[in-house]
Symmetry: C2
Subunit: 347 residues, 2 copies
């Protein structure tokens, strides 16, 4: 099979084009070889390929290598199957069994929507999970079906002290993200999926390996002074919270949800998913017309200097997916590592 795929590669400098279906087959095969169920392997591979098609490379197919390492070193359990549990306190929880979080999060959104369809809304904990992938993908799907979702969590600040609290000189909290999806107008849902820090941690590693400086106002050094040098981060510095006290507050709420309300966190972090059936408040068609009025105004807003246009959150990923026509562009070295990994597992 690797040969069949290689023949499809079109080299473009240091990137290759890969058919998404072929990428799903290869990545899925790798996870099955490692010990994942067919369901888990397929779900994760499809999620990663779709994320790459949406142009979110950092959360796309290149994660195959990291996940494989985390399966192999015992950080995540390959054979885990996420299950819906009723807790002793009567609430519902998705228990990921210490496995990868993507199928658990998929199950959470599916179950959350089913519950909300019956009673108008639902709240679920997602626990004992590794990385949960691109939350925006789940929120987009749910919003297309008429659901407002809010997903937030955190935990394991002892492992992931990356971000300084507002007014502080030390990294104390993870980049705890928030994801919110709501039905939109004619172009589909509005989806927010953001870290509560100025930049994601991956940028710092990228800047370090490229020998580059980071933008202003993103990092502080060990003394709490502004810096653009990624080395200062590794020498006791920190990322600043997005929007000062506002991003700090949102990160703190995530940490309290993950560690205190749903804690303690185990594999990576704990998540709370709130799902609300928007049709319980207003008929979908009227809501869509009203949403489109708001969104159309924004799309027509004159851009500020240095910008091409005002974007509606969620549209960029869907437009990228449409334009990609099922072809993933991926750095050649990453793709070669994935192919080599597959070869090594089949020996």
């Amino acid at each position: 099979m690797p040969f069949a795929v290689r023949s499809k590669l079109t080299l473009r400098g240091d990137r290759v084009n890969v058919d998404a279906g072929q990428a799903v087959d290869i990545v899925s095969n790798i996870f099955v070889q490692i010990g994942c169920s067919e369901d888990t392997a397929g779900r994760v591979a499809e999620h990663l390929a779709d994320t790459s098609l949406c142009g979110m490379e950092s959360h796309g197919v290149m994660r195959t290598l990291q996940y494989t390492e985390q399966f192999q070193n015992g950080y995540m359990t390959p054979s885990a199957i996420p299950r819906i549990c009723k807790t002793v306190r009567g609430t519902e929880e998705i228990n990921g069994g210490g496995g990868i979080g993507i199928p658990a999060m998929h199950l959470a959104y599916q179950h959350g929507m089913a519950m909300a369809s019956e009673s108008g809304m639902s709240v679920l904990a997602i626990r004992h999970v590794g990385h949960t992938g691109r939350h925006g993908a789940f929120a987009d799907t749910a919003a297309e079906q008429g659901f407002l979702t809010i997903c937030v969590g955190g935990g394991n600040r002892h492992k992931w002290r990356q971000v300084a609290p507002y007014g502080g000189a030390r990294a104390m909290l993870p980049t705890n993200p928030w994801c919110i999806g709501i039905p939109g107008g004619e172009h589909g849902p509005v989806v927010l999926d953001f870290a509560t820090s100025k930049i994601a941690g991956g940028w710092i590693y990228a800047a370090r390996s490229a020998g580059a400086l980071l933008p202003e106002d993103c990092l502080i050094d060990v003394h709490g002074n502004p810096t653009r040098d990624p080395e200062d981060y590794f020498n006791g510095g920190a990322i600043l919270p997005a929007g000062g006290q506002k991003g700090y507050g949102l990160a703190l709420v995530g940490e309290l949800i993950g560690e205190a309300m749903l804690g303690p966190s185990t594999t990576e972090g704990n998540w709370l998913l709130i799902t609300i059936d928007s049709k319980g408040f207003r008929e979908s068609c009227a809501a869509q017309i009203a949403a489109e009025e708001v969104l159309k105004e924004l799309r027509e807003c004159p851009p500020a200097p240095g910008f091409e246009r005002v974007e509606v959150p969620g549209e960029r990923e869907r437009d990228y997916r449409t334009a990609s026509k099922g072809i993933i562009s991926i750095p050649e070295s990453t793709w070669q590592q994935i192919l080599t990994l597959q070869d090594s597992l089949q020996d």
Copy 2:
């Protein structure tokens, strides 16, 4: 009664100290004279006085003058009584009847908690309301009783185009706030209550009247270029969103909730209140201990240059209230206007 109160005033430059109980009596009396019920008048007066005691002057007793004007010019209906309604679509709504939003929001949090106590969570719309006061006060009370609450909304962007979308050169959206409360540690709940813009609109009026410049990176002029001059705002400029695309996204979600999902907005805006019983997930004592571990670390974080300490959101207001010992410090001219207003209504 005005004479009795005046005798309590202790002049300190251009501020006066007023006993909170006396302020409640006077403010409540004003609203009754205007046509509010005793319940509404008392609820609003107590909310404003408590907000002043918490040091949030902009949302405190000085709002008496604005609310009075809005009652008198027909923007809000004094006699309105908020009611719990079941909508035709089966969801629950607090209908404010076009009155002031403070008693409606109080009722929403009370009813939201009662519903969540039974079924674990609740979601409510709050509609047909004027200004809803300091949301953090309601969230703090709910979190003290074990409830995680998220309240957000928006609407009436046609009246309140204050904030530019990320990448845009025009004011398009209101400052749509988010309020989140969650049980905390030994010092009580963690409460976020923030506008999604870099600064609240009131600052611009304050800077204009003081002939002052605003901080950097808060405003743009009509061409989308950065400015510190408040006059540029009034000449077609805009406030920037907090945290760039993140604050813009949160404001947009608020606007879609207010105008599309719960809309159209009438008096001022529409709100969605989500209430979750945290005890459904973890026993309160264990959660409090885990929360205190997170919060204690933050309180002990070394401060960044220019800061005294890291704050835990919600603590400043409670500490201010304790330190105030029931005495409100208010600008003398504001207080004189309130006393004059009371006199005029009793004539």
